[in-house]
C-alpha cells in the first residue's frame, strides 16, 4: 500500500503517495458546467482584471502609461540618435530619460500576464482540457524607511480553473521587513520566498514550500517556490555564516490535489482526480508545531560549503490515518551537507540529505514514508558561447526496505530501494538574450519514467515578453512519479507586460 513510501521524490508533487487516496466512488460525481458556457466564461474572466484592476488600483494606472510614454519617447530619441550616429545631443537625451528611476527606489513595479495551457491528450479523469487559464496583475513595491527595508509583492488574479467569483483573488507573495541587528546580523520578517541548496529543480535540503501545481501547469518558474510566513535570522562572520528560519505555522507544498491534474492513489490503486480534492489535516498551529530550518555556510577558496538541518514535516500529505480516514503530513527531520564550486571550466555540485521519518522510524508503517538517504551530484558548463549543458544524478535510498515491502499494501508498486534519477538541461540564448531555448529532462531508469520540459522564451522588448512550452510526462507504469501524470501532459503559452 505504500507507493512511493518515502514521499514523492525530490520534486515531490505529492506524487500520489500512499496517503494520497480518494474513495473512488466520490470522484464519479463529476462537475457538469455546461461545456458551451466555457468560452464565454473563459474570456470574460480573462478580461476581468482589465476591468477591475484599474478600479482597485487607479493610481497604478499611471504607471504603465508612464512607462509607455517613456518607451515612446525613447524610441523617438533613439531613431533620431541612429541617424545622427549617436551625436552628443541625441545620446544625452537618451541618457537622461529614466536615470532617476533607480534612485527613487520606491516606484511601483510589476507585470500583467495572461496565460493559457491545455492538455495534449484527453484525460479520462478530468473534465476540463485546459490546465492553465488565468490573467494576473503583479504589484511590486519596496522602499527603505531609515534602516528598515519593506517589500510587498502581491498578485491579483482570475484563475478560471479555480475561480468561484465574484471578486478577483489576491495572493500576497511577499510582505517582508528586513533590518539589521548589530553589525553582522540580518532579520527577514514576514511572508517571503526562501531557497537554498545546490540542485537544479531537485531539492534535498531545501524544505521550503514548493508550488507543484504552478510547476506542472507552466507558470513562470518563480512560482515553483511558494511563500513562507517566517522569521529568518542570518548571522555573518569569518568562522561561518548561519541562517535560521522559523515558520511558526507549517507551510505545506501546494501539492497535486486532483483539481487540475489527476494522480495515482495507492488506496484506490488507480489514477484519480477531483472531486473530491485531496485534502489533508494540517499540523496543529501551536507554537511548537512549526518548522525550523538551519543552514551553516562558508565559502572556502571559491567552494561553497554548507550544512543543513530541518525539523518539521513532509511537505506533502504523504501520511494516511486509516482510523480517521484522512491524509496528513508526517513528521520529518533532515540533516545534510553540500558543496559547490568551479570544476574544470564549469560548476560542479554535490549534496546529501538524511530524511528521518520520525513517525515511522523502523519503516513498518505502510501509511508513512520510510527514512531515506538522498544524494545529488551535478555539473554545468557553457559548452560553446551561449549554449549551456547541465547534468545531474540523483539517488533516493529507502531505508528498512524489507519492512516496507513486507507491510506494503501494493508491494509490487513500490519504488526500488535505490531509486535513480538523471536530469539534463540544455540552455541556448541568442539574439542579445531576447531568445532563450531550453530543454530540461528528468529520466528515472528505475521507475522507467520521464518528464521533459521544452521551452521557448522570447522577449519582444524590455516590457513585453512571451513564453511557450510543454510539460511532457510519461512512463511504463501509471503509478510512478512521472508515469502517473502522463495524461496531464500539456502545452502552455504566456504573454507578459512588465512595468
Amino acid at each position: 500500500m505504500t507507493f512511493s513510501p518515502n514521499a514523492p521524490c525530490v520534486i515531490r508533487p505529492d506524487s500520489g503517495s500512499k496517503g494520497a487516496s480518494q474513495p473512488v466512488s466520490l470522484r464519479l460525481i463529476s462537475l457538469s458546467v455546461p461545456t458551451l458556457l466555457y468560452p464565454v466564461l473563459h474570456y470574460s474572466i480573462l478580461f476581468a482584471p482589465l476591468l477591475f484592476a484599474p478600479l482597485l488600483f487607479s493610481p497604478l494606472l499611471l504607471l504603465p502609461a508612464k512607462s509607455l510614454a517613456e518607451d515612446t519617447q525613447q524610441n523617438i530619441e533613439q531613431s533620431g540618435a541612429q541617424t545622427d550616429s549617436w551625436s552628443e545631443s541625441a545620446s544625452d537625451e537618451w541618457s537622461d530619460a529614466g536615470w532617476d528611476d533607480e534612485e527613487q527606489g520606491h516606484t511601483i513595479h510589476g507585470f500583467f500576464e495572461v496565460a493559457y495551457g491545455a492538455r495534449i491528450q484527453s484525460n479520462r479523469w478530468v473534465d476540463r482540457d485546459d490546465t492553465l487559464n488565468e490573467a494576473r496583475l503583479r504589484i511590486d513595491y519596496s522602499n527603505y524607511f531609515g534602516p528598515l527595508y519593506a517589500s510587498y509583492k502581491g498578485d491579483f488574479l482570475v484563475d478560471d480553473l479555480t475561480w468561484d467569483g465574484p471578486f478577483i483573488d489576491t495572493q500576497t507573495r511577499e510582505a517582508l521587513l528586513r533590518f539589521s541587528v548589530g553589525k553582522n546580523s540580518d532579520i527577514h520578517l514576514g511572508r517571503q520566498i526562501l531557497t537554498w541548496g545546490t540542485g537544479d529543480l531537485l531539492f534535498l535540503n531545501d524544505l521550503f514550500p514548493k508550488d507543484w501545481v504552478s510547476f506542472f501547469s507552466g507558470r513562470e518558474m518563480e512560482y515553483l517556490k511558494a511563500s513562507s510566513d517566517a522569521i529568518k535570522f542570518s548571522h555573518f562572520n569569518k568562522l561561518a555564516n548561519v541562517d535560521l528560519v522559523w515558520s511558526p505555522k507549517f507551510d505545506s507544498d501546494i501539492y497535486i490535489d486532483g483539481e487540475r491534474f489527476s494522480y495515482f492513489s495507492p488506496l484506490a490503486d488507480s489514477i484519480v482526480a477531483a472531486p473530491p480534492k485531496l485534502s489533508a489535516n494540517n499540523p496543529d498551529s501551536q507554537l511548537d508545531d512549526g518548522e525550523l530550518a538551519l543552514r551553516i555556510h562558508k565559502i572556502i577558496n571559491g567552494y561553497e560549503w554548507a550544512l543543513y538541518g530541518y525539523h518539521g514535516y513532509f511537505k506533502s500529505p504523504v501520511g494516511f490515518d486509516p482510523e480517521r480516514g484522512v491524509n496528513y503530513f508526517p513528521k520529518l527531520s533532515s540533516f545534510g551537507a553540500s558543496v559547490r564550486g568551479t570544476v574544470k571550466s564549469g560548476i560542479g555540485n554535490m549534496e546529501v540529505a538524511w530524511y528521518q521519518s520520525r513517525d515511522d522510524s523502523n519503516g513498518t508503517d505502510p501509511f508513512i514514508p520510510n527514512s531515506q538517504l538522498r544524494f545529488l551530484t551535478g555539473y554545468e558548463q557553457e559548452l560553446i558561447s551561449r549554449l549551456t549543458l547541465g547534468l545531474q544524478y540523483y539517488l533516493e535510498w529507502t531505508q528498512d526496505y524489507d519492512e516496507l515491502k513486507d507491510n506494503s499494501l501494493l508491494p509490487g508498486k513500490e519504488p526500488e530501494e535505490y531509486r535513480h534519477l538523471l536530469t539534463t538541461r540544455i540552455n541556448y540564448r541568442s539574439l542579445q538574450d531576447k531568445l532563450t531555448l531550453s530543454l530540461f529532462v528528468f529520466y528515472s531508469p528505475t521507475d522507467d519514467d520521464f518528464f521533459a520540459m521544452p521551452k521557448v522564451i522570447y522577449r519582444l522588448s524590455d516590457s513585453w515578453s512571451s513564453e511557450m512550452g510543454m510539460n511532457i510526462m510519461g512512463g511504463k507504469n501509471d503509478y510512478t512519479l512521472f508515469g502517473q501524470f502522463e495524461e496531464n501532459s500539456n502545452l502552455f503559452a504566456r504573454v507578459r507586460y512588465s512595468f
Binding site: 533613439q78 555573518f236 571550466s345 542579445q432 516590457s463 507578459r496
Partner: protein
Amino acid sequence: MNNVTKLLNLTFLLTAVSTVVGTAVADETDVELIVSKANHIAFYQANDGRAESRMLITDGGGNKQVRQFTVLRKDRGEQVDGDQDFLVLFSRPADVRNTMFRVIKHIDSDDDRWMYLPGLDLVKRISSGDKRTSFFGSHFFYEDISGRRLDADRHELLETTDQHYVVKNTPLDPDSVEFIHYTVWIDKSNWMPTKTEYTDAAGKIYRRIEALQIKDIDGYATATRMQASDLRSGGSTLTEMRYIQYNVNLPDDIFSERSLRNPPRQWFKRS
C-alpha cells in the same frame, strides 16, 4: 641679488618644464609597459569605485533593449593590478530589477560568479569558462568589462602615431577565442585604450570597441561612453557611465553573499 634670484628661478622653471614636456613627448617603446599601463587605466584606477551604468543594446534589425545597473568595485590589493571584487545591482529592465551579480575576478584562475534572482531567492553559481560570451545580452563580453589577462596574448607595437600607440595582440591559445588577433589604439596622453578592433580568420575586422567620451573624474581619465559593435550583424551596444566616484573606501565585507540578499544601500545609493 634680485636679478640673480630671478635668473635662478627662471632656470629652475625652464628645467622643470622641459623635464615635464620631455617625459610627455618621449615615445615609449616597451610594448609590455604600454599594455600594462593601458590595462591599469582601463580597469584599475583608484583602489575602489562606484558607477551607474546604462546599456542601450541595438540588434541588427534595429530593436532596442536597455540594461541599467550600479557597479561597486574594489581591488583586493594583494598584487598590483590583480584580483578584484565586483557587485552589480540591476535596476532596469523591470523583469531583472534587483538582480544582483557578484564577481571575484582572479588573475591566475577562473573568476567566481554568482547571480541572485530575487523572485526565487536563488543564488545561482555561474560558470566562468567562457569569458567571451555576452554580458547580459549586450555586445560587450565579460572580458571587455572585467579585463583580459595580459599574458594571454603576445603584444607587438605596430605603430606610434602622434596620438596613439597601436598594439597588435595575438592570442597564445587561439582555440580559446573567436579572433585571430586584435589591435588596440592607446592614447599617448593618458594611456586610455580608445579603440579595439578584432580580426577573424578571414582577415576581416568583425568587432570594434570604442571609447566615445573620456572625462576626467577625480583626476582619473575615465571612459564614460563606450560602444561595442558587431560589424557582421550591424548590432551595437552603447554604454554610458554616470555618478562615478573613485576612492570611496568601500569596506571589504560588502563583497559577500550577504550583499546578494541585502544590497549595501549606503554604497549603492547616490551620495
